[in-house]
């Protein structure tokens, strides 16, 4: 060992460092194509395809009874579901690639996670707002003139604007943080971690199913879903979202990206 003295970090005048949590937040938006441009382009494409299909349907359905049938059927639309899957992928990429990248910038795991979570919450709010506005326009224009439903499906997008916004927001948060937790397990334990995680989830699901069966609890489970309704069930997803968010942090806190 040398007898060298240790230099303090303030050993020379340096420009003030930015808040690194905010820097990480900005890092997720340095290239807006993936997080903003591409999703809206996909959305526009699906919308135009839907519009064409609605036009074709309504030009071929003539009787009033059939029309009512079609209108009812169109409310079961999954056209905007891709947004949620897409955001899960965004989260996976952020943890799997942006995290090791940020480590090269000497960002701590804590700063990375907080900055990233902030970005995900912001993106959720942004997309929830966009989807809410579109659902209101859909209502106001009588389903874009064709009784179409893309943003006002039976799953969400009914009720006053703040209910719609909340449902979209909560579902987006769920998509982001579930993606985050899975990716964190992968970054920390690679394929073995994923296998173990899926095995654990399978066991848990089977065990819960068995429990419900053994205790004759299925009617109660059904009743719970009925009681809560779609909106209630979506709100309850906040529980797994929070669990995933905390788990993601705890897993990533001790992770070292390897090749």
């Amino acid at each position: 060992m040398t007898t060298a003295t240790l230099a303090g970090s303030a050993h020379r005048a340096r420009p003030a460092a930015q808040n690194r949590i905010l820097s990480v937040f900005r890092l997720h938006f340095v290239n807006v194509s993936t997080t903003i441009v591409v999703p809206w382009m996909i959305m526009a494409f699906i919308f135009l395809v839907n519009l064409a299909i609605w036009a074709v349907i309504f030009s071929s359905v003539t009787s009033a009874a059939d029309r009512a049938d079609v209108e009812e059927g169109l409310t079961w639309s999954g056209s905007s579901f891709f947004v949620f899957a897409y955001m899960t992928v965004v989260a996976v990429q952020a943890i799997n690639l942006t995290f090791p990248f940020a480590q090269g910038y000497s960002v701590t795991r804590r700063d990375f996670y907080l900055g990233t979570a902030l970005a995900f919450v912001s993106l959720s709010a942004f997309y929830a707002a966009g989807l809410t506005v579109l659902s209101l326009i859909e209502d106001a224009t009588g389903g874009w003139g064709f009784h179409g439903h893309m943003f006002t499906s039976v799953y969400f997008g009914v009720g006053p604007w703040y209910v719609r916004f909340t449902l979209f927001f909560v579902l987006l948060l769920f998509s982001f943080f579930v993606g985050t937790a899975f990716a964190a397990v992968y970054v920390r334990w690679k394929a073995n971690g994923m296998i173990a995680l899926f095995a654990a989830i399978t066991v848990l699901v089977v065990a819960l199913g068995a429990l419900a069966t053994v205790t004759d609890g299925w009617p109660a489970v059904g009743a719970w879903f009925e009681r809560n309704g779609t909106n209630g069930v979506i709100l309850w997803s906040l529980v797994p979202t929070v669990v995933a968010g905390i788990t993601g942090y705890l897993v990533l806190r001790r992770a070292t990206p390897r090749n």
């Binding site: 420009p15 990248f101 480590q103 090269g104 990206p257």
Partner: protein, 295 residues
């Protein structure tokens, strides 16, 4: 001398495998260090431990006087350029150059621009589509332009051609002269960088086997060549690091020689030649016998 990093009795195990084994050394402020050793010697693990990316099994690390693990304040002084650096899927070099200043307060954008021209780095191509050399160029540019008080280059120039590597050495030296800082260069191309290095740390099988100034190290061994009998006589009783024979001629690498030794060698008709840093390290890391610390 002031140390920016102090490592003592550091160890890191992965299951049964010991990647770092009781390492103790320091990294001096405003000095260019070479962290040398064979593949798998533990160089990258050491740097990952110092930068808080990996977690030690035992021992201690002080980075600017503090533990590096999850320590924003200490890590804000550090830039770590890795050969295998990953980038977000959709990134182009311009996204790296745009975001880097948010993390490195001393970032010099004009210098970065000049380096981009030097290395002919296409700014608007997906990083996924870049050649190996261009990928390395991004890392080198970030490492230099960030002007972090402590910069690690881990095999920074895989795929860079000779011209680009020379450019890297030249720019590093120029910028280092104007903006003194601490640099740790981990590389296989020892002879290419030997003139840059002020201190040399050699790792082998997770242990620090040399920790010395490069001047001391260069003088620490000499090759003695001449007729076999004369060489045998001269090296008798000395530790011989390496030996080669060709017919009646022989050469042997021995430790530091005194003035009297040199005179005696000349009188015996032997030729003395300095040993290059690369040869020295090759010889100390291939033999089983451990080479005592050169300093």
């Amino acid at each position: 001398m002031t140390a920016v990093v102090e490592v003592s009795n550091l160890s890191k195990r992965f299951g049964q495998f010991t990647a770092v084994d009781g390492a103790s050394f320091s990294i001096e402020e405003n000095t260019i260090h070479g962290l040398l050793g064979r593949n798998g010697a533990g160089k990258t693990t050491l740097m990952q431990l110092i930068t808080g990316q990996d977690f030690a099994t035992g021992g201690s690390i002080r980075l600017f006087g503090e533990s590096p693990v999850e320590n924003s304040r200490a890590l804000a002084n550090v830039c770590f350029v890795k050969e295998s650096q990953k980038y977000p899927d959709d990134f182009k070099p311009r996204h790296v150059l745009k975001s880097a200043p948010w993390f490195f307060p001393e970032w010099d954008a004009a210098f970065a621009e000049r380096l981009v021209a030097d290395f002919r780095l296409p700014l608007n191509r997906r990083i996924k589509k870049l050649s190996r050399g261009q990928l390395s160029a991004i890392g080198v540019i970030v490492g230099l332009a960030s002007r972090a008080p402590l910069t690690f280059f881990d095999e920074p120039y895989l795929g860079l051609d000779a011209v680009a590597r020379q450019t890297f050495y030249d720019r590093l030296l120029e910028d280092y002269a104007d903006h003194p800082r601490t640099v740790v260069l981990s590389t296989h191309l020892i002879d290419e960088v030997s003139n840059l290095l002020e201190r040399v740390i050699v790792v082998d099988e997770g242990r620090i086997i040399i920790d010395s100034s490069s001047d001391d190290l260069r003088g620490s061994a000499v090759t003695v060549a001449g007729p076999r009998a004369a060489v045998d006589t001269f090296v008798a009783g000395r530790e011989v690091l390496h030996r080669e024979q060709l017919g009646g001629l022989s050469s042997a690498t021995v430790g530091r020689l005194s003035e009297a030794d040199r005179t005696a060698a000349a009188r015996a008709g032997l030729e003395l030649a300095p040993v290059s840093l690369q040869q020295l390290i090759v010889r100390t890391t291939t033999s089983d016998t451990e080479w005592s610390q050169a300093s």
